[in-house]
């Protein structure tokens, strides 16, 4: 029973696993593009956490409808927050990619160890 209960929170498990995968890629990979992919996975994990916590069982979109009494709504606020966080994530990713392009122009490589050797 306890185990089933724990498995029931599978969204949070996926969040934790994605977080770890992303962090691993950021730390371990030497290719700068792969690092950025890791960073993206890392950020997406947090989106999943926010989206999961706003879900109310049986809840719908928070719109008042005629004829429905005492409707159950999912909390819309975390979705709005995460919309902002997604924008932040996209800007970070694009800025990071722009940096990689310039690093490639200046160093001719996007491998971290080769860049370190070049200086």
């Amino acid at each position: 029973m306890k185990l089933l209960e724990m498995l029931g929170y599978y969204n949070y498990w996926v969040f934790a696993i994605l977080l770890a995968i992303g962090l691993y890629a950021v730390i371990r990979k030497t290719n700068l593009i792969k690092k950025l992919i890791g960073l993206s996975i890392f950020q997406s994990a947090v989106f999943l956490m926010y989206i999961t916590m706003d879900k109310v069982e049986g809840g719908t979109a928070p719109i008042i409808q005629a004829g429905v009494e005492n409707p159950i709504f999912s909390n819309p606020l975390p979705q709005v927050l995460i919309l902002t966080a997604i924008v932040v994530g996209v800007s970070t990713l694009s800025l990071g990619l722009a940096m990689v392009v310039r690093i490639k122009e200046c160093y001719g490589t996007i491998e971290e160890n080769e860049i370190l050797d070049a200086d």
Binding site: M53, V88, L95, I115
Partner: protein, 496 residues
């Protein structure tokens, strides 16, 4: 219409709206003037806010008239005022002096965009300080970070690029950790307003998510604040950034993250989690001490002037954190004072470095021989700010070191050991500042009979002014001291 009432919002809005406007300014040469005017205006706003909160009150502002906790709230108290003064002051001083140095380092067609990014950093940093809710702090943090990556990468040295990439990785991880912590708190309380979180957390019975949140937020902000051992992005980012950007960021960027860390911990976690004061002290104090000692010894043996000062910055972050870890009024006011005084000392030093760099392309200490004779005023400013960095009586640095030593003595049986550590690290500072003095005054000149060639007058004037302020606030520290004391009192009141 009472303009004073809208100052907290204007503090953020002025630089933010100026940023796109100066990109469109014609002719393009006006970009610098526009950016400087916007920075000076926000400095003026910060000064007005400081006088409004000097007596220990807190200014509240509801965006669009929607009352908290439903609307977006801004608040300014004595602690915010100190940090606002540091941010806007550093940005104004750096921009006033910046033109010759930036003309040398950035191509003229990119300059309007560069100044726009500068103003975005400014508005993000002040936004962090005035925001009264956890999620807006995150958004402003990312605005300032993204723009500061652009500023640092703007320099002519290609090594800036990998440095920025590293900063971007670590900065984003830090911000995302913070976001996770905020999410967990929201999960438990259903609110993001800091004051409201504090109220509602007292009803929360399951504290495990809060402990996790405290961990994520502390680590995330410590990454942003470059607390040892999460400081590895600092030396390269500061060293290869354009010189004026280093002045601005070294004076305030990491301190703002530390400000959020202190505020969050004192206001939210220490009030609601049992034994959290102890946990915070046990976490922060060792990191602070190791950071001070390690970074100071790295600075003692560093050959590049900018990198030496960057290492010293990491040690100073340690002092600020050490003050906060005492959980006492005097410790907190030492922290707040050190934020102010270190910004003066390090801002002045980096301004002087920018002056040196106007003629010396290579900033390794071994290449700076003869600078004392060639640029006497610049080098005099380096000496004054260096003394303030060490904490010699009569300079601003002395005040905060003195407070810190007092706080250490009152902190309990370990106090004497801490005082010894502060004194040892001050001796290390004497050592590395002396190395700079030796390099510029007593080293054999690289070129014989180089003509006297000072930096442009506007850079010299600002550098000289900051150096004099180091002495002024060493002799008349009343205003920042009063602010720091009421900031500390407010923070501890929140923690009770």
């Amino acid at each position: 219409m009472d303009l004073l009432a809208h100052l907290p919002a204007l503090q953020v809005v002025v630089p933010m709206l100026s940023a796109p406007l100066i990109v469109m300014l014609q002719p393009r040469g006006l970009a610098w003037a526009g950016a400087t005017a916007a920075a000076l205006l926000s400095f003026a706003i910060a000064i007005a806010l400081t006088f409004a909160v000097l007596d220990g009150q807190t200014l509240q502002y509801a965006m669009g008239g929607w009352p908290a906790p439903y609307g977006i709230a801004l608040s300014v108290d004595a602690f915010s005022a100190i940090v606002l003064l540091v941010i806007t002051g550093a940005s104004s001083a750096a921009l006033l002096a910046a033109k010759p140095s930036i003309d040398q380092q950035i191509e003229s067609e990119r300059q309007p965009l560069f100044y726009a990014a500068w103003l975005l950093v400014l508005s993000g940093l002040v936004g962090i300080v005035v925001a009264a809710d956890a999620f807006n702090i995150f958004v402003f943090m990312e605005i300032s970070s993204l723009a500061s990556y652009i500023l640092i990468a703007g320099g002519p040295n290609r090594r800036a690029l990998p440095a920025v990439f590293k900063y971007l990785m670590m900065g984003t991880i830090g911000a995302t950790f913070y976001l996770i912590g905020v999410g967990l708190i929201y999960m438990m309380t259903g609110t993001l307003n800091l004051a409201d979180i504090q109220v509602r957390l007292s009803d929360v019975t399951d504290i495990n998510p809060l402990l996790v949140a405290a961990g994520f937020i502390t680590i995330g902000l410590a990454l942003k604040a470059a607390v040892f051992p999460m400081h590895v992005w600092v030396p390269n980012a500061y060293t290869y950034a354009p010189h004026m950007v280093t002045v601005f960021l070294a004076a305030c960027a990491t301190k703002v993250a530390l400000y959020v860390l202190i505020r969050f911990d004192y206001m939210i976690f220490q009030t609601t989690l049992a034994d959290h004061q102890m946990q915070f002290a046990m976490f922060a104090m060792p990191l602070a001490i190791i950071g001070i000692l390690v970074a100071s010894s790295v600075a003692m043996f560093e050959g590049n002037l900018k990198r030496l000062l960057a290492s010293s910055s990491i040690a100073q972050i340690g002092y600020i954190l050490l003050g906060a870890s005492f959980i006492s009024i005097i410790g907190l006011s030492a922290s707040a004072m050190h934020m102010f005084n270190h910004a003066l000392a390090k801002g002045g030093l980096f301004l002087a470095v920018a002056c040196l760099a106007y003629h010396y392309r290579d900033l390794r200490l071994s290449q700076l021989g003869g600078a004392g004779a060639r640029m006497p005023w610049t080098c005099a400013a380096i000496v004054v700010c260096g003394l303030s960095l060490i904490g010699v009586p009569g300079t601003a640095g002395f005040i905060s070191k003195w407070l810190l030593i007092n706080a250490a003595l009152q902190s309990g049986p370990w106090g004497w050991g801490l005082v010894a550590i502060i004194l040892i690290s001050s001796l290390m500072a004497v050592f590395y500042v002396w190395r700079i003095v030796e390099a510029i005054y007593f080293q054999a000149p690289i070129e014989e009979d180089a003509p006297k060639a000072e930096a442009p007058i506007q850079m010299l004037l600002v550098t000289g002014l900051v150096a004099l302020l180091n002495i002024y606030f060493g002799i008349f520290p009343q205003v920042p001291l009063e602010l720091a004391n009421s900031a500390a009192a407010l923070l501890l009141e929140g923690a009770k």
